[in-house]
Amino acid sequence: MDRKNTSPQGETARVLTEFLEVAVNCIVFLKGFYPPAAFERRRYMNVVVQKARHPQLADYIHSATSNLLPFVQKVFILQKTGLVERVNVTFYDKEHIPLEKFVFKIDVNQSYNSKVEESDIGFALRAFLIKLTVAKPATKPLPPSSGWEITAYFRALPQGSSKEKEAQLWIPTDTKQWLQPPDITPIKSMSSQPLKVQLYLEHPNPCEPKKLEE
């Protein structure tokens, strides 16, 4: 990670991706997807968080989130925001039908030019982590043999994706879509300059057609 990137946008994007990495770790821990022993306690922004110990898991989360960095920084011309619109942590069942989504809705104001204090954003982001640790009641238990993935939704497809190697790292998802608008449960929102993040849960609509039993 390029720590020397000191432009305000770069700084914000770096803080954001770092935060996402921690948050995804926390979510996976929260869902009890892996045994608790697979995580270790760490401190991030002075909050106790859980971090995956398994190198493959840690690497997946790290690579996924840190690869978002160029896209968060990339300006989406039409709206003057970063290219990344949402980052989802999706839990799905064996049919690849999503059961629960943790949605980070991101809005980075790229035209914001004044100096950003990491501590200011950090303070707001910390609230997310605290709220996440107590968000268990809002979630639903997972059935056996489910899976999870990190999905990023872009505001537009990256230009010249065949050339950029960052873009090549991202593959289209197999996860199916819901047919009905989902139920939303807000968990936390922050709206400061230049970064706005909202975290909410999406669950399938009760009238979502169930898959055939046979």
Partner: protein, 1070 residues
Amino acid sequence: MGSNSSDRPSSSVSSFASAAASGGSLKRSRNRTPQNPLRSTTKRKSPFADFGSYMAEKNRKLGAQFRADAASVSSLGSDGAPVDSEEDKGVFRGVSIFVDGFTIPSSQELRGYMLRHGGRFENYFSRDTVTHIICSNLPNSKMRNLRAFSHGLPVVRPEWVLHSLAANRLLSWAPYQLVHGACKQQKLSTYFRHQSISTSSDAKGSINHDEEIKVGQNHSVVPTDGQTSECGGISIQVGDVACLKSEEFSQARDANQEPSASDMVHSTLTDPNFVENYFKNSRLHFIGTWRNRYRQRFSKLLTGVKSSNENLKCHSTKQKTAIIHIDMDCFFVSVIIRNFPDLVHKPVAVCHSDNPRGTAEISSANYVARNFGVKAGIFVRDAKVCCPNLVILPYDFEAYQEVAEQFYNILHKHCSKVQALSCDEAFLDVTECDVDPEDIALAIRKEIAETTRCTASAGIAENLLLARLATRSAKPNGQRFLPSEKVEDYLNDLPVMELPGIGYATHEKLKKRQIQTCGQMRMTQKEGLQKDFGEKIGDMLWNYCRGIDNRNVGEVQEAKSIGAEVNWGIRFNDMTDCNHFLINLCKEVSLRLQGCGVQGRTVTLKVKKRKQGAAEPLKFMGCGDCQNMSRSITVPIAIDNEAALLRIAKKFLSSFHIDVKEVRGIGLHLTKLESAKITRKGRENIAVWLSSPMHATRSKCKQISQSDKQCDNGDFLFSSGPPESGDLDSSHKLDQDKPTLLFQDAGSNCSSIKGADCVRPIRSSVLPPLQDLDIDVVRNLPTEIILEMDVLYKGELSDLISKSKGNNCLTHVCSSTVSLIDASTNSADAGISDAHIDSVKLGLDSKDKGKMPICENVESISYVDQVTMEPKLFDLMPASLSQADASVFEQMPEDVKADVHGLLPLHRELKVSKDFYTCFDFPSCVQFPDPHLKTHLWSGDPPWWVEKFNTSKNILLNVISRHAKSSKDIRLSSILQSVAPFLLPVCELSNEVYAEAICWLHELLAQYIVLKIGSDIEEIYNCFCFLKRISPSSKILLLVYNSALPLFQALVNENYGGKLRLSVIQTTDE
């Protein structure tokens, strides 16, 4: 108003008029200086101290001169008419006139009459001395503000003086009131009353119309007729009534008037119902929506066609196909002139304006006119140059609809496979008929000519293209069979421009390639054409120039997009105008969507902006040279409600960052249409149900149709024969008819005619009237719902009516309109004998109001008055059949269907309008004093509402405000939480306080939602969770929660594509 018109460039005339008006007002104000006799005597010797004293002196001197003249004249004339002057000193005793502007006879002659017959003549206007204002013309600005101009004095034409002299007694001036532009301009209202005008000249027709109105007015003032000559007091009273009335009339007519160069009435600036009027008068709209009506009308036949189509596929391969293309000859003209036999051989064109210098476009011209070079689409003034004695007639949409229906009835009778192209044009597939196609065509044409009295031409060939081409050479009133052997010869010399699908651009391209005729085009390779014009068009051209057309006579295609666009008459002064327009446009689009039973997912807003440096367009009020901008969004769930459309449209419009003054056209379209039936499932709750226009329609249509039928009857009776002016009955009918027209046209928010009760201040546009509710049902509803309904119906009906009729001191212009309608609907509903009394009542009513200065600013009005007088009416009927929900319509019983059909002619006769500021304030039953403040409750630091609530008389609001002030955090959730312990004791409130608090809190919450939806749903969610938690102990908060939740859910859906797990609380305790 005056300044409005003067800052628009095209109207040199009207700006001049406003200057004149201000000059007039200056004059008056000078005269207003108190005339102190003492002072004027002291000033007599010295030079005048100021202008006022000079004028006073001048007036005194003029008066003295006049008296001296009068004395000499009467002494002179005493030998001429000695009895006259001795008995009562002349006809005009007690009358003092002021002549304004040019008159015939001239002001000097009038002065002479006054001298000789005991009247007085004032050179300068003064409210104190003048009793009548004489003039024959008034500028538009004065006319619009007649009361301000006349100070309530009667404004009469000079004929009154002459006729009084002739009758040798003072006649009632009421019939002589000035009606602006009466003899010059055509009124659309005349056409909508479908009189059978037997005269060829339009001008004459419009005069007729005015005389009828005069008869009507005369009638309503008749009781005081005899008294006018006796006592000035009464005559002034009547004057107030009549002036007010005539003012209303002029407004009503203005709304209908076709604008001429000097008349800027018909634009978004001045016409509050511009969008509706626009579409009502639009021919393109008629054609555009025709297809819908056609499908409703012939839906059964069409489905029949579909099923039989399948079976016939195998037949058609063997047999040679025979297609008839049938097209009415200059449909829009011939339908009109069939009633005027003398016009048949004269050049006639149809256009919505007949101003010879106007820039209205000719929409259709008959063959005589076409020979002169008059074509569809050229301006009237150009047409008049080509053909000076061109007769221009207005549209008659009802007749078009009728003829189109007859036309299709005949076609369907003769052939089962009909493809409608337009209201006057269709393809028939007569392959499987055994009869010779030429005979069929002949029979159809004959029947059309007999039934509709209009002619049609037919082309017969083996495919659609050739049939269509054949028709072209058959016109007018002929038919042509194009056998396949002759096709090649026929096409050889046919100019390519004649082929359908070849427009200007393609033609230009072909021209460059030296291709002028189909024969030349046939030389070109198919690949070459495809290379130049693209695969599809190239293919089409290649086929067409060989006379090949593979299309079948099929059924009507589904609409791919639905929307409305207005590019004419768009002029905004500020954002308010623009928003108002958007509201109406969204309503229109929403109604159309609902009419087709579809919802759309992609919303596109198109805006035409005046190009930099573009001059005022050649066409009056047209869009001119414009830069087009558009933006679209695809929302996760298909929408059709106007609130959602409005939100999106507003967002888009603001994202363009343009000056609203530069906007020349706005269009809103929806694509990605889905059937509404599928998407609507499972989203019903009581709010949706209550606000569903369909429900309202269902519950009310019968009632309306009955009451409206009465009016229609009156209308019909009246139109069936030329009115006899002496006949009392007919004038009664006029009296009924006229208010109906008035209330439709004045844009005065009423749509139901059912006794006086129909005009009732109701907050929500969709609430059913109180007396319509089944009390038994209501009693059995849960208490919560009863309470909510109680709040909704708050100002009790009877109270309101009595209040609105009695001593209210509302000065809103609207209210006077309402009371006028109120009375007029009375008269429409009551028997003929009652009509008379009611019109007197109307006079008294409006007189009360007339005393108050008319001001449009509502701020000065006290809160209670607002509640009682708010002229909100319901939106009961869609404005035209094309907009009615077809599925509902199908379900109705036959008689109701027939009623609705009769009620909704093809274009809106019913004027539905509501003036709503935001779309989600349905549960509140009070109106905010100033609509502009509503949008800014959360602006400022501390937010504006904190101060507002603090100064409110409402305890609950006070408490909230106090806590908001003390806490530094202005987040609503934390404020609510800190307030919670104090809320419960103050919940025991009287009904009014209750309603007010709910209204404000709802608004507060609604605006908060809009403010935060993009960035912080957590916060709003917290607020709602809190409200939900506390709702068992506070009914107010429960109602606020329930009323604001739909908006929240809708916005979450729009922004996040989902909904929250919150639902409307329906408690059933007690």
